[in-house]
Symmetry: C2
Subunit: 350 residues, 2 copies
DNA sequence: CTGTTAGCGCTTTCAG
DNA sequence: CTGAAAGCGCTAACAG
């Protein structure tokens, strides 16, 4: 191998704006403008410049840009997207809304406690973000305070049962749980359990809804609430159902905090020989793609997850530069999707 | 409400390093050092400074830091984590390895084509990243070239069947597919189909393995390969299986490119009254959490996804500042997990 | 429409 | 161990 042709090492000399400017015979700022505000540069020059940019492989240095303009063009997204399958659709919505803009997205996974969230938010703040999307988990005064004094617009997503510091978009989880529980009652189930994973604002609201409806009928039994503070999964659903039926063989239905749990519960019922929906009704939450495909198909509550993400990003973009507005709250609504797993009246599936 | 006490607006005056320095009665650089290299500042001063930092709520400006030090402390991760459930574990592995360092992660979703990947990689490069984790999808000369000349270490993850530009960690997808196909043969299945979603390097390698094994037995039939270039999902699995059995009712097993497809296939079998594993064997891929919980449980191939992410980040961290090394390749191996869905000899589950 | 000047907030020299 | 000077690469503000 000829030494001179050796592959370049990592840090190759960087092409800067002035390099391009020099090569194109103009000043740096003109190149800068040609790139960011093409209409402010005469067509001829613009073309020349863009050509040189292309040739030299110039790529703007975002750090320098952020420092000079005090605008990082960054949207911080703090959601459990790496932990919870449900948030993937939300993130896609955000991405799709942001794609056409020159904004970029930086994700972070919320930690376990409010303190960790604070740290991560502060870190976002340190980057002069254009906006932040945040999924509240726990109420925490320190967090609330931080959000109040955020240096940029913040949208809290998923739940709208509490007035946000600034903006919120999501659904009312209490109402959703009420609808699900009422549906189970209507199908004739009476000993309705609740299967839950991670305990956060939203699951608490759902518990409230579930409880309120059952108490209204004198059917609430705290022993039927089976919850473990761990991330929802199919395995957990199977486990919780097994635990439920061992302790309370007379339970005849379950409202699950997530479709993963519902699917696990379904599998466990099959394993235990409990016929669904005849002997046992199952209602999930989230309407994941497999809910409609499962056999029997799973009744679930559909949330406009993608739309929530999309709207959140949209609100952020609109709020840019507008100064702080009065709290805004958007309820995108949910939809109960009745399927086989609760269709008791229809008789057994098989 | 007293005007003066009104909530501060978005852009509150930022505390800078020199503000802190002034308040602490030292120079800016000393504060900077106290924060980054505490051991180079006398204990007394250090304490004072950190106290002032805390009090004033100072947070370093990452853009300024990146610009001045030419080190963004950023790790760029280009994986389909928002699209593919399988990558969530990988991302967790990366996060876990990076957590203890002062590096940060920036995610991006690969686009549809190689060109889009190039754009996103270039964008990462523009931020002076400390390293990049990349999931190759398609072979593309432009992409290869870009990776060769990357201004930072790059780890290509998931597949190790090709020599990487620099570093790679993953498994050999061809071998994995061979093992799965051989397993199905051993269980007595003969008309073995392939169900696939997105077509990329890895699925192509799996197809090769599947084909090689069947051809070895004179059992390969291209008509049994059912693939759609769309993201893998439970719904797609059900659809592909239905399509398969309509066209080829004699098919007696399926090797699925992902467990979502396998689960969908299982549901569809149940719907069609095909008993699994007696009438039809199903082998998935990825060993998602539900594979072992399903009823019947799903045979699958387990990949060390978390470890792949962890190791990738680790390699990046070690490679920092080391200059370019000869290509490194780490094969973390896979594991076939036989379960009920292919246990033909054991008879029907129910 | 184009250029000049100044400076973003921090860190790198290089001195003390 | 601490500080002074210089500048990272870019863009805002103002001139022409």
């Amino acid at each position: 191998m000829i030494p001179g042709t050796r592959r370049r090492r990592h840090r190759q000399e960087k092409v800067t704006l002035s390099d391009v400017a020099q090569a194109a015979g103009v000043s740096a700022i003109t190149v800068s403008r040609a790139l960011r505000e093409p209409e402010k540069v005469s067509p001829g020059l613009r073309e020349t410049i863009l050509m040189v940019v292309e040739q030299m492989g110039y790529v703007p240095d975002m750090a320098a840009r952020a420092l000079a303009s005090k605008d990082s063009g960054l949207i911080g997204v703090l959601t459990p997207g790496l932990t919870s399958y449900a948030f993937i659709a939300v993130m896609r919505g955000i991405e799709d809304r942001v794609r056409s803009t020159d904004l970029r997205i930086q994700y972070a996974n919320p930690g376990d406690d409010g303190e960790d969230d604070c740290r991560k938010l502060r870190f976002f703040f340190s980057q002069n973000p254009a906006g932040i999307v945040y999924v509240g988990r726990q109420h925490d005064p320190a967090l609330d305070d931080l959000l109040q004094h955020a240096p940029c617009p913040v949208v809290e997503i998923m739940d709208v049962s509490r007035t946000p510091a600034e903006m919120a978009v999501g659904i009312d989880h209490r109402l959703a749980a009420e609808a699900a529980t009422r549906h189970l009652l209507e199908q004739g189930y009476r000993r309705i359990a609740l299967l839950g994973g991670i305990i956060d604002n939203r699951s608490r609201r759902r518990l409230e809804g579930y409880r309120a409806v059952l108490e209204g009928q004198g059917l609430f039994d705290p022993d039927l609430v089976q919850s473990i503070d761990g991330s929802a999964s199919v395995g957990l659903g199977a486990h919780l159902l097994e635990r439920l039926l061992t302790a309370h063989p007379d339970a005849d239905a379950a409202f699950c905090h997530s479709d993963d749990l519902a699917l696990g519960a379904l599998f466990e019922c099959q394993r235990l020989g409990r016929r669904v929906p005849t002997d046992f009704g199952i209602c999930g939450f989230n309407d994941f793609d497999y809910a409609g495909v499962a056999y029997p198909s799973l009744t679930s509550v559909r949330l406009p997850r993608y739309e929530i993400g999309f709207r959140a990003a949209d609100m952020l973009i609109r709020a840019t530069g507008a100064g702080r507005q009065p709290p805004t709250l958007i309820d995108l609504g949910f939809q109960l999707i009745p399927r086989q797993s609760t269709a008791r009246s229809a008789g057994p599936v098989s």
